[in-house]
């Protein structure tokens, strides 16, 4: 059991250090993706014709294997974390853009009309009405994007020790220590579950206005009410 947490020195990190690195490499891309997706989604909401092509582009980008991304990026960003994080950011868009668009679109027409009639300008309306009401949908998207990002970070090992916990898989092979592979898989899974639970907590905190129960029932109830 001792050897389970005994990380080979070539990784230059303790187990906890690897976890920190892993979280950074997984979460920063989701954050970046969110910052990109918010304006992009707002554009798609305002200009309806833009949504299908944007969706198409994000899907095609998602279909590009990360290895292909690395090959192109390595000329510019080298064997760094950034090379891992850029593809992950791009991948997160495929989940986040539709989540935000659907969330913003789910705001009932009469709520929007009421806001306009009360003298909300477009920006105020977006920030104070549409975004807050879209929070459950956005967090649902963030949960998928985050979990997927946490698992994808491991491929960073392909460009030389940039895969955080994923590097343990490689070390398990070269040092013939299968327990390191177990460590990698179990720790990654535990991280994903924990961060997901954290996001659920954030949603509960941010949306005291939702009826207890899942967000899905709320959306369905509204859909039938309209």
């Amino acid at each position: 059991m001792n050897r389970f947490f005994d990380i080979p020195s070539d990784l230059q990190h303790s187990w906890l250090g690897l976890i920190g690195l892993h979280l950074r490499e997984a979460l920063l891309p989701v954050l970046g993706g969110l910052l990109l997706a918010l304006p992009l989604a707002q554009l798609c909401v305002r200009l309806r014709w833009l949504y299908p092509p944007v969706l198409w582009v994000t899907t095609v980008l998602y279909a590009i294997p990360s290895l292909a991304f690395f090959v192109v990026l390595i000329d510019y960003t080298g064997q760094t974390e950034l090379t891992v994080m850029i593809p992950l950011t791009v991948y997160s868009l495929v989940v986040l853009v539709p989540a935000i668009v659907d969330g913003v679109r789910s705001v009932p027409q009469e709520t929007l009309a009421a806001a306009t009639a009360m003298g909300f300008g477009p920006v105020r309306r977006y920030v104070q009405v549409q975004l807050p009401i879209a929070v459950p949908a956005i967090i649902a998207g963030l949960r998928v994007a985050t979990v997927s990002s946490i698992s994808l970070v491991s491929v960073g090992m392909l460009i030389g020790n940039q895969g955080a916990l994923g590097n343990l898989l490689h070390d398990a092979q070269i040092y013939n220590r299968p327990e390191l592979a177990w460590n990698s898989v179990l720790t990654t899974a535990a991280l994903a579950v924990l961060v997901d639970a954290l996001l659920v907590g954030v949603r509960v905190l941010l949306t005291p206005w939702m009826p207890s129960g899942s967000g899905a029932t709320r959306t369905r109830k509204e859909a039938t009410a309209r």
Partner: protein, 414 residues
């Protein structure tokens, strides 16, 4: 009561005042607050939603826009706060072109109530109501205090303040919607089918509440509905629009019912407009008979004396004076009157307060053909026959005809 001094009062001397009134005894002379001047709304695809519409919306009263779907009533309402811009024509608010001020300033000076309330689901009741005051730069405390005051005004318990919209019923949400529209005390209230999504019982309650609030605040209300009964009940003036956005008739409801301008209006009013018009005549003129009323503890002499009245039945009342039921004069024995054996008396009307429509309804519902009138406490005040009510109706019609349609004012309660 600062709502009473809405800026339109008497500031428009060139416009002949529109005479109207909610009650015959509180007739007021209104100025024009909103003037819609030959306004047309044409969409890029060529559809005409509103066609050269001109309307003078009187100050301090409820003007109802009513018509079938596609008649442009909602479009007209939305042109007033410029959620829809007219293609032609102008809208004057208190004599000033509505395009002369920034659109959001204009909108914040007009409350807006919408079907399903359109509440902000992510804000509490009190924060929903405080929305416009906050935007106008009021402090948080002042806005919330104002919001709580309005909750009371619209009949919402203070315990609802911290709740979220999903925790309220449809009727309660609509009350919040009305409170939110009133929050910054705007002179104008625009209401777009606000009560059409709630069930009939709740709707009636909300309508009565709106009339009560209007009695207190005297706002200029423009109310859109497709329900002619609602229009007749709420409107001081009713504008009937026809498909294609043209005005069919603009008149007080009593005049609408007595003199529909054309076949379209007549069809739209429905088959029983004669009966409904009776709600504008007070029952105060009815001659109530008290002779056929006996108490349940009546003596044999009292019963014998009552047997000789012109009514074929006697109305038995309890010791508190409330009606119990009808009986044939021969069927009563002093000291042994069984309340369970009496004929039902239907639904009584309140003498003087209810309209002739209510009185007639009581007579029609009563198995004896006689209506029971009660006082405000529910004690029997007298009985009246269908024939006597018919007589009163003919008299009221003749009077209204002689005095002109303006005289046909609404009865106190409708």
């Amino acid at each position: 009561m600062s709502g009473l001094d809405s800026p339109g009062n008497g500031l428009n001397p060139t416009v002949p005042p529109v005479e109207s009134g909610r009650k015959s005894q509180t007739r007021r002379v209104f100025g024009v607050l909103i003037r819609i001047d030959s306004v047309t709304k044409r969409y890029p695809d060529g559809t005409v939603a509103v066609d050269r519409l001109s309307l003078d919306i009187p100050d301090g009263s409820i003007t109802v826009l009513v018509g079938p779907s596609g008649c442009g009533k909602t479009t007209t309402l939305r042109m007033i706060n410029r959620m829809v811009e007219p293609s032609e024509g102008t809208i004057l608010i208190d004599g000033v072109d509505s395009r002369q001020q920034p659109v959001n300033t204009l909108r914040r000076s007009m409350g807006y109530v919408i079907q399903n309330a359109g509440l902000f689901q992510h804000r509490t009741v009190v924060d929903n109501i405080a929305t416009v005051p906050r935007m106008l730069g009021w402090s948080k405390d002042k806005s919330r205090a104002r919001a709580r005051e309005l909750m009371e005004r619209v009949g919402l318990d203070a315990s609802f303040a911290k709740r979220y919209p999903y925790q309220l019923s449809g009727g309660q949400q609509q009350r919040v919607g009305v409170a939110r529209a009133l929050a910054a005390d705007p002179p104008v209230l625009l209401m777009d089918e606000p009560f059409s999504a709630v069930d009939p019982v709740v709707r009636k309650g909300l309508q009565d509440e709106l009339l009560r609030i209007q009695e207190e605040l005297g706002k200029t209300i423009v109310f859109v509905t497709h329900d002619i009964d609602e229009a007749v009940k709420l409107g001081t003036m009713v504008a009937v629009l026809r498909t294609g956005g043209r005005l069919a008739q603009f008149a007080p409801p009593a005049e609408l019912l007595s003199d529909p301008a054309d076949e379209f209006v007549e069809d739209f009013l429905g088959a029983d407009r004669g009966i409904r018009r009776l709600s504008f005549f007070s029952s105060a003129g009815l001659e109530l008979l008290t002779a056929p009323i006996v108490a349940i503890d009546a003596t044999a002499e009292q019963l014998a004396a009552r047997g000789a009245t012109e009514a074929p039945y006697l109305l038995v009342t309890g010791l508190d004076g409330r009606p119990l039921g009808w009986s044939e004069p021969g069927g009563l024995t002093a000291g042994q009157i069984d309340a369970g054996q009496l004929l039902p008396y239907g639904r009584p009307f309140t003498a003087g307060q209810d309209s002739l429509r209510a009185a007639l309804d009581c007579a029609v519902l009563s198995p004896t053909g006689w209506a029971v009138a009660v006082d405000a406490e529910g004690r029997a005040a007298g009985v009246v026959s269908q024939a006597a009510i018919g007589e009163a109706i003919r008299g009221a019609h003749a009077h209204a005809h002689a005095a002109g349609p303006e005289a046909a004012q609404k009865a106190t309660t409708r």
